[in-house]
C-alpha cells in the first residue's frame, strides 16, 4: 500500500503491488509478442497492449464493486452465461458447424470464457447458502454437480476440451474447499481411470489425436506431434540464458506453430531461456499467492470460496498451458494468460483479478460485521 499525502486516497488504496506484478507480466508478454512478429508491434503487440490496458482499467474499476453486489449478480450472471452457451450451441446447430462465440456487433463474445469466473462465484454462493450441518449431505452435492455439469457439457460439445477442463477444475476446486467429503473427489478420480478409454472412444477425431500425440509425440513428428516437438525444441534450445531477444530461430523461421498464442511460452523461453521462464512462473506464482491470501483473509464464506476459486482459475490457466507447451499434457488449446495474444484469456483473467481486488478491498474497508 502506498501511503503518501500527494496520492489521492482512492488511488493509494489500490493493491499496487499486484497491479505492478500483473503489468510486468503483461509488459514482458508484449516484448515476446514484439519479437514473435519479427521485431514489430504489428500485428500483435500493439493490439494486445490496448486490450490489456482496457481490461486492466475495467479490473481496477471492478475493485470498487461491493461483495453484496457480486453476490446479487452471481446467479443472474450464471443464468445469462448458460443461456448464451445454449445460444451458441443452437447457432452452431443452425449453421451446421462448430461455434464458440456470439457476434454482438463489433464484439465477439465467447460465453465459455465468462463461465470460468461465473461457475466459481455460483458455487461459492451456493455453498454459502448451504447450512453448515448439511455440507456432507447429498443435498449439498447434487445441485453443485448440476450447476457445474450442464455448462461443462455444453462447452465440451462445442467442442472446446480445454475450456471444459478448466471450468470443471475450477468448479471442483470450490467444491473441494467447501468441505465436501473426500470420497466425492477420490472416487471420480478412480472412475476416470475406468472411464477414460470409453470417453476416448467417444471423442472427436482431432481431440483423440491430440491425446495420442501427447502420449507419444514422436509418433507423428511432422503431423499432429509437430506442435509439441517444435515447442520442446524451442524451449530446450534456449538453454539457461536463452538465445537473446529477437534471436529465436524456431519462432522467427516459423518452425514453432502458434508461437504468439498457445505456444507463446516456447517463443519466450527460446529467447530468454530458463531464467526468463522461471521468472515468469514465479511472477504468476506471486499473483496466485496473492489471490490465495485474499481467500485466507476473507471473512465471509462466499469471499473465501470465491477468492480461492478465482485464484485457482488463474492457476489452472497457467499450469495447463505450461504443461501443454512443455509436453506434460496434451495440447488442449489453453492460452497463457496475459502473455498469449488474444482478448479472451486477458478478459477472463482480468475479470478474476477485478473480482479478487473487490473482495480484497472489502476485507480492508468493511468491518467483520459487514
Amino acid at each position: 500500500m502506498i501511503t503518501s499525502a500527494i496520492i489521492p486516497k482512492p488511488l493509494a488504496r489500490l493493491p499496487w503491488r499486484l497491479i505492478f506484478l500483473v503489468a510486468s507480466i503483461a509488459g514482458f508478454g508484449l516484448l515476446v509478442l514484439f519479437s514473435a512478429a519479427g521485431g514489430s508491434v504489428q500485428p500483435w503487440a500493439l493490439k494486445q497492449a490496448i486490450i490489456f490496458s482496457v481490461f486492466l482499467a475495467i479490473a481496477i474499476g471492478m475493485s470498487w464493486v461491493k461483495e453484496s453486489t457480486i453476490k446479487a449478480v452471481t446467479f443472474p450472471l450464471y443464468g445469462a452465461t448458460l443461456i448464451m452457451l445454449i445460444g451458441v450451441e443452437a447457432l452452431g446447430f443452425v449453421s451446421k458447424g462448430a461455434q464458440r462465440w456470439l457476434e454482438l456487433g463489433p464484439i465477439r463474445l465467447q460465453p465459455s470464457e465468462f463461465m470460468k469466473p461465473a461457475i466459481v462465484l455460483t458455487l461459492a454462493r451456493f455453498y454459502e447458502l448451504v447450512p453448515v450441518g448439511e455440507i456432507r449431505k447429498w443435498r449439498a452435492i447434487w445441485p453443485a454437480l448440476l450447476l457445474l455439469g450442464v455448462p461443462a457439457f455444453l462447452i465440451l460439445v462445442q467442442p472446446d476440451l480445454g475450456t471444459c477442463i478448466m471450468v470443471g477444475l475450477c468448479g471442483v476446486t470450490v467444491m473441494f474447499l467447501a468441505g465436501l467429503p473426500w470420497w466425492i473427489f477420490v472416487s471420480p478420480a478412480a472412475a476416470v481411470g475406468v472411464a477414460a478409454p470409453i470417453v476416448y472412444s467417444m471423442m472427436h477425431g482431432y481431440q483423440r489425436k491430440r491425446i495420442d500425440v501427447f502420449l507419444n509425440p514422436e509418433s507423428d513428428p511432422l503431423g499432429a506431434g509437430y506442435h509439441i516437438s517444435q515447442s520442446k525444441i524451442a524451449i530446450g534450445s534456449g538453454g539457461i540464458w536463452g538465445k537473446g531477444f529477437l534471436q529465436g530461430s524456431q519462432s522467427h523461421l516459423d518452425y514453432l506453430p502458434e508461437g504468439h498464442t498457445d505456444f507463446v511460452f516456447a517463443t519466450m523461453a527460446e529467447e530468454w531461456g530458463l531464467v526468463g521462464g522461471v521468472l515468469l512462473i514465479c511472477a504468476f506464482a506471486l499473483v496466485i499467492r496473492w489471490g490465495m491470501s485474499v481467500s485466507a483473509n476473507a471473512r465471509t464464506r462466499f469471499s473465501q470460496l470465491a477468492a480461492a476459486g478465482l485464484s485457482a482459475t488463474i492457476f489452472f490457466y497457467v499450469s495447463i498451458n505450461l504443461m501443454m507447451v512443455m509436453g506434460l499434457a496434451p495440447v488442449v488449446g489453453v492460452p497463457l494468460p496475459l502473455v498469449s495474444f488474444g482478448g479472451s484469456a486477458v478478459m477472463t483473467v482480468m475479470l478474476c483479478l477485478g473480482l479478487l481486488m473487490a473482495l480484497e478491498r472489502q476485507q480492508r474497508t468493511t468491518s467483520s460485521l459487514g
Binding site: 453448515v132 450441518g133 468441505g179 530458463l274 521462464g277 522461471v278 512462473i281 504443461m323
Partner: protein
Amino acid sequence: MSKPVRLTTAHQSITFSRRMLVLGSAQAGVGALLIGRLGWLSIAQNQKYQLLSESNRVQLIPVPPRRGWIIDRNGKPIAINRASFRVDIIPQQLTDGPKVVAELSKLLTLPPDEVDRISKELEHSRGFQPVSVADNIPYEQYAAITVRLPELAGVAASRGFTRYYPGGSSVGQLVGYVGAANEKEYEAEDKNPLLLVPGVKIGKEGLEKTLEQTLRGVPGGQRVEVTARGKLVKELDPKPDRSGGTVQLTIDADLHEYAARRIGDQSCSVVVLDVTNGDILAMPSMPSFNPNNFSDGISTNEWKMLSGDDHLPLVDKALESLYPSGSTIKPSMAMALLNAGIDRKQRVNCTGSYPLGNHVFHCDQRHGPVDMDAAVVKSCDIYFYEMCRRVGAEHLAPMVRSMGFGEKFDLPFDNQRYGTVPDPEWMLRKYHRQWQTYDTINMSIGQGMVLINPLQLAVMASRLATGKRVMPRLMKNKPVAPQAQLEVDEDHLNFIHNAMAGVVDHGTAAGAKLPLDGIQMAGKTGTAQTHNLAAHERGNYTASNWKLRDHSLFMAFVPFDKPQYAAAAIVEHGGFGAAVAAPLIRDTITFLYDKQKALAALDTFEQSIGGPLEERVARKTAAWRQANGLPPLPAEKA
C-alpha cells in the same frame, strides 16, 4: 464415526484452512514440477534440442565434389572431368511435362531417342530424383535455356562436370562408367542427399564403382537458413568441398589403347604384365562400350545394340570370361612332368591318334617320335596324353594351380571369375564321380574342365618366365607383392624357356616372330575347342558358323632369356591359336620396344579391316539402326 458429528462453523473453518493448505501445496507442487521440467529441457537436454533447432534452421545444399582422376603409370589421364553445362528436370516442380519436354527438345535439338528416354524416365520418376535431359551441352544452348527458365517450370540448368575418358571404348571395360544414382543405390547409402543433386554421378561398373570411395571426395555445402516453409532467409558460410583422390594405375594408357585397337573386330581380351613386379600394363577387352556415352545416360537403342551383340561388349573378358586353356597349359604340364621325374629326352611316338577304351583321342598331326622339347614346340597332344597318364592328375594339378590357374587375385574388380583346375578330389566333390583316365587326357591339353581367364593366362606366362609367384597389380600405390619362389628347378625353367622360344622361332607360332633385333619372344599357342567338331569340319569356317570356331589363345614373355614382359591374348572363336592371337601379341609387344614399327603394323592392319576403330563403330551402329528400322543418327555435334 457411526453417527455424524454435528458440524459447526468452527469445524467448517478448520476444514477450509486444511483444504486451503492441501490446495496450496498442490499448486506449489505443480509449480515445482513446471520449473523442474523447464530445467530438464533447457539444461539437461539443451544440447539435443540445440542440435535439432540448428538442423531445423540450417539446410545444407550439397555442392558435389569433383571426382578424382584416374591416370596411367606415366600420369596420362584415363578418366578426367570436363567442365560442362547440363539441363535437368525436377519432376516434383514440373507442372506441364509434355509441353516442357517438347520445348526443351526444340531448344536442344534432342534426337527422338533421347526424347523417348526422358519421357519414359519422367513417367517412372519418384519426384525426388532429377531426370537428366542433356549433359555436356554447348554454352549457346545453355544460355538459351537459362533465359527461358521462368516459362519452363521444373527445368534446372546448371554448370557441372562431365566424366571424360580420352581412351573412349578402349578403356570401357577397365574403368567402367559413371551415372546418376538409382533409387536402390540411394537407399543403400542411407539416403545420402548428395546422390540427388543433379549431375552427381557415381561409379556403376568397373574401377569407377570399386574405387568409388576414393574417387568421390567429400561434398561441400552451401549452408542456408530457411524457414519452415522452405523460404531462403540468408546464406551462411559455405562448407568447402574436397575433390576426390587421384588414382594411379599401373596401366600404360598408350599400350592399352594400342592393344585394344590391334584387336580389331575380334571378340578378344589382351593382358600385358611386367613380370618383375606384376604391374598390369594393358588389359583391354574388346569390343567394348564407350563410357563417355554412358555418363550422359545411354539411350535404350544404344543399350539394345550393345546387349544384343554376340561379341559381348558388355562383358569384361579379361576377368569375367572363362575359356578352356587349350595347349597353353602344356609348358606348365611339362614342368609338372619334370618334377614328377619324367626324363625330357624320353620319346613318345605320335601316330596322330591315341586310343583309350572305346574312344580315340586325336592329335592335329602325325608328329612321329617326339621328346618333351618337340612336344612343346610342335604342340603334340599325344605326348602329353601319354606322359600325363603315366604321372596321374593328382601330381599335375598342384603345379598347374601354382601357375595361376583358378587363382583369385586381389584386384579392385567385383567381377573376377576364377575358373577351375580339376583333380580327383574336386571331381568327387563337384560331380560325385571317380576321376577317370580320360579326365587326365582332357586335362593334359587344357580341355575338359580346365577353365581360365586371360589375366590368369598372362600370369602363367609371367610365372613360367620368372619361376616366381608373380602377383598382378593394378593400383600404383599398392606395394608390390613379394614374389615367392615356385617349386621349379632352375634347370627345368631354362629348358621350358628354350622350348617356348622354339615355339616362336620354328614351332607353331613361327609366324609371330618379333620384328626386332636381339629380342626374342618365348610363347605358346593354344586352340580351345568350343564344340565337338569332326576333323574334316575344322578349319572350314564361314561367317555364319563363327560361334562354332575354336578360341585362339596365345601367351608369351620377352625377352626369352631375360624376361621383362609377359602377355596373353584369347580371341573368341578366332580359330587356330597361331593364326590370330600370336600376331596380335607380337604387335603389342613390338609396341613396348618400337612404337613406330608397331604403329605402322597397326595402320596396315586397320586398313585391311576397314579403317580405324571410330569409323568401324560408326558404320556398325548405322548398320544396326538400319537393320532395326531406326532412322540414322544425326551427324555429331561440333
